[in-house]
């Protein structure tokens, strides 16, 4: 058996990946497949009221994706390929906004500006998910073949700049596609802006209401229009990715950065503005909220803030560690699973690729509350008691749900590596895992870590199935939302900051390490 996995054939590893995905993602989906696929109810579901909700969700998510690309793409372009003071720091800060829970960003911007309504929702989602197009575009720009770029630069700077736009646009679009998916499925942010301003609803509220008023199968049935919309977006992403495969491939040397010259000051101001909007302003407001009180309060801001941080650590420390534990384990699982899936998709027959993409993506598209209830029905058995109560179950579910993001990222990264590398390694008798991790992914480790990091970040933020699973119930997200809705604003702000700090640290350290390695090279 072990010899099979030491062999040169990828099939045993691909089978293992399929088996793990079955456990992590597809088995919990089984109880909702029948209610989800009630296409006959689609016409009945979409009456004037629900069609209006779906349309509102679509345009809010569409505009948010557009804003994400408007903010994220130039940010990535400028800090990755232009030389100006602080470019390295801006690169380091690029992934951080994705670690801010969208609800916290919504609260912060409401506190700062008083903005409410659907447009405030668009703004919040755009700001929160701008790192997705930015990170994908940055990876692409980082890996551009140095020779072709420098040749273009020698002929005409305009040509070189055009090549930068060309090579980073499709990855940025793919990132925006994911931004659309997350925005369309989010209930908390529109719900928040509806509570602080005029009431409005999105389609996610319809799904949530059905899950609440009947059971999760009704929620799954109600989610069909959004799932279909998600499939369309993901297929669009797959098509973009396929077009991306035709682009130039990395030659192993990094392309020269362009000196900003006379544009240094405007670029610097532009970058500072974006970083302020994406990160500094919401963080500043949240820090202020840790000590904010009513006008009749007799305590100082500092006293209230200190107490909020003390409570955050005292009450929430255990939940934080548990959350980081199972989310980290999910990230580790994706470190292993995502490369196998991406490689399988890269090499599978054309007719099989799209069905596989849909299958892998389905757990991301269905409501996570339905996934949670599905896992209760599948795994809550007397003989599986230990597994059902363990941290392994939420880790598996998080890995299964967010695997598509990691797979898409790695598919993009792998497609940039010349096939000849892997073919030469095969001729030299290397095992499959050596070919995959050393030769196909050898120059793409940053993408692998980014993929796992995103899974961890999204795992930490997951609330809906955290409530439903024994080991995930005592999690940071549950404590955060509980405190939020019970008006413990100081605690919420302090606890959110502690959570963000814990997430920021490894990302910053990794970014710093990467920049050291880049400068060595």
């Amino acid at each position: 058996m072990i010899a099979v996995f030491h062999g040169r054939s990828p099939r045993p590893w691909w089978s293992l990946a399929v088996g793990l995905t079955l456990l992590a993602a597809w088995l919990p989906l089984l109880p909702i497949l029948e209610p989800l696929l009630r296409f006959d109810r689609l016409a009945h579901m979409l009456d004037a009221r629900t069609a209006a909700l779906l349309w509102r969700s679509t345009w809010i998510s569409g505009l948010a994706a557009l804003l994400a690309i408007v903010l994220g793409w130039p940010y990535a372009l400028l800090c990755t390929r232009f030389q100006f003071p602080g470019a390295g720091l801006f690169r380091l800060l690029m992934p951080l906004p994705i670690l801010l829970p969208p609800l916290m960003v919504a609260q912060a911007w409401f506190g700062l500006t008083g903005m409410t309504g659907p447009l405030a929702t668009v703004f919040t989602f755009g700001v929160c998910y701008a790192p997705l197009p930015a990170l994908l575009a940055a990876r692409s720009l980082h890996k551009q073949a140095a020779s072709s770029f420098e040749s273009a630069l020698l002929i005409a700077p305009r040509l070189a700049f055009g090549s930068l736009l060309r090579i980073s646009f499709l990855p940025a679009m793919i990132g925006a596609g994911f931004a659309f998916l997350f925005a369309a499925a989010d209930f908390a942010v529109p719900d928040y802006f509806a509570t602080v301003g005029d009431l409005f609803h999105v389609y996610a509220a319809e799904i949530f209401g059905h899950s609440r008023n009947f059971d999760f199968t009704a929620g799954a049935t109600a989610s069909l229009p959004l799932v279909l919309l998600g499939v369309v977006i993901l297929l669009g992403n797959a098509i973009l990715l396929k077009r991306q495969l035709g682009y130039e491939k990395n030659s192993g040397r990094y392309a020269t950065a362009i000196s900003a010259g006379r544009l240094t000051l405007p670029i610097l101001l532009f970058m500072l503005t974006i970083v302020t909007v994406l990160l500094l302003a919401p963080l500043g407001r949240v820090i202020f909220e840790t000590g904010n009180q009513g006008p009749l309060s007799e305590r100082t801001w500092l006293e209230v803030s200190q107490q909020a941080f003390r409570e955050g650590i005292d009450r929430g420390r255990g939940d934080l560690m548990r959350t980081l534990g199972f989310s980290g384990l999910a990230g580790l699982l994706c470190l292993f699973l995502a490369p196998l899936w991406a490689h399988m998709l890269l090499h599978c027959k054309n007719w099989l690729r799209l069905p596989l993409v849909v299958l892998v993506s389905l757990p991301l598209l269905v409501p996570s509350v339905a996934l949670g209830f599905g896992s209760i029905l599948m795994f809550n058995r007397p003989w599986l008691d230990q597994f059902y109560s363990s941290s392994l179950l939420p880790a598996l579910l998080i890995a299964g749900r967010f695997l598509p993001i990691a797979v898409f990222l790695l598919l993009d990264a792998m497609s940039r590596v010349p096939d000849s590398r892997e073919e030469n390694a095969a001729l030299a008798g290397c095992s499959y895992l050596q070919r995959l991790f050393r030769y196909r992914l050898g120059t793409q480790h940053a993408s692998l870590w980014l993929a796992a990091g995103l899974v961890v970040a999204f795992g930490v933020r997951e609330l809906d199935f955290a409530i439903l699973l024994p080991a995930a119930n005592a999690s940071a997200a549950v404590r955060y939302y509980n405190a939020l809705h019970f008006s413990r604003d100081n605690f919420v702000a302090a606890y959110g900051l502690i959570l963000i700090l814990l997430l920021f640290l490894p990302v910053m350290l990794h970014g710093w390490w990467q920049s050291l390695r880049s400068s060595d090279q």
């Binding site: 480790h445 080991a471 005592a474």
Partner: protein
């Protein structure tokens, strides 16, 4: 020296795999709790300290308004019921569990002294530590504050006021109670008329409270626990009880409720837990908490300024089984009216 990244992962892996709740042999009691985590976890910890039992507690979030855990109890009961006790922060969904045959009868001696209206005749559930539905209004602004529910229909009152949509939690329970009194269609028309009069609808009780303290509204229709938090935070607000006086309906009181579930495990520990939670001591602790929950035992000490139901204000009579039977259907009707 080159440190592989896999080495850096080891602490994370250890953290993830090595995590345990200190319950390797399983807990002595599994409690599902919809009351605010900050309020309930200290009480449960005290029970653990006194009895030596290890209690695994699973919490809900306010966004789900008890239904997340209720639906989870129902889903888990299909193959392997886990929860021994359900502590609900309201009442209607506890009765749903009884109707589904998932509860066990237990007459706790600690429930003596709680009015019969808040106890199940078959002893499947007991109510305690209630919240009242009240008006919270700003004391620093001039304007009309309702004294009756139908004042919500008068633009002179409604324009400065707000209430949560009747989709979840106590507002849904309140709307269901009223719709049983007035009829479903009449209640939907009442909401439409209130909106037409200028009443604003928010997503939840805590949210309309926050907007009132921020100055967006003169008053809001909310729960006493939200009102207590607003006052404790130093906002210039006060509470008014609706429907008082001869022939008036009185204030709706919605208690916490607790029941033993038929998990078939830990029944003795579950009974001890109920005795503890229903005690005067816990009601007193909840009364003096930030939520100032209203004790149902007669004669329990109360914080200064908190009014006593039945003595300081009239309480509405409610047929809770009828509310439980109607609440799901009403929720759908309200969702179709409000979510658009």
């Amino acid at each position: 020296m080159r440190i592989s990244r896999a080495t850096l992962l080891l602490p994370l892996l250890t953290l993830a795999c090595g995590h345990s709740d200190g319950m390797s042999s399983g807990p002595d009691l599994v409690v599902y709790c919809s009351l605010d985590q900050d309020l309930s976890e200290n009480i449960i910890a005290k029970f653990e300290a006194r009895t030596g039992f290890t209690v695994e507690t699973q919490f809900d979030v306010e966004r789900n308004k008890t239904v997340g855990l209720v639906n989870r109890i129902i889903a888990e009961a299909k193959n392997n019921p886990r929860a021994d006790v359900y502590w609900n922060n309201e009442i209607a969904h506890t009765l749903r569990l009884k109707d589904a045959g998932l509860t066990v009868a237990y007459q706790s001696p600690a429930a003596d002294g709680i009015p019969a209206a808040f106890r199940d005749a078959d002893h499947h559930w007991t109510g305690f530590a209630a919240r009242a539905r009240v008006i919270l209004y700003r004391t620093d602004r001039e304007g009309l504050v309702p004294e009756k529910l139908d004042d919500f229909l008068n633009p002179a009152y409604a324009v400065g006021g707000a209430m949560a949509q009747p989709l979840t939690g106590t507002t849904l329970t309140n709307a269901t109670v009223l719709s049983l009194q007035r009829g479903n269609d009449a209640m939907l028309s009442w909401f439409a008329a209130a909106e037409a009069a200028g009443l604003s609808f928010g997503a939840g009780n805590a949210d309309v409270m926050r907007r009132t303290t921020n100055g967006d509204f003169l008053w809001c229709f909310t729960d006493t626990d939200d009102a207590a938090k607003a006052i404790a935070q130093g906002h210039p607000v006060a509470v008014r009880y609706l429907e008082q006086g001869d022939g008036s309906l009185g204030v709706l009181l919605i208690p916490n409720s607790i029941c033993i579930l038929n998990s078939g495990k830990n029944l003795d520990a579950a009974k001890q837990f109920l005795d503890y939670i229903l005690s005067v001591e816990v009601e007193t602790q909840l009364a003096f908490s930030v939520a100032q929950q209203i004790p149902l035992h007669v004669g329990v000490a109360m914080p200064a300024g908190v009014q006593i139901p039945g003595q300081d204000y009239q309480v509405m009579a409610v047929d809770w089984p009828a509310v439980a039977a109607a609440i799901s259907a009403r929720a759908v009707a309200f969702q179709e009216a409000f979510v658009k």
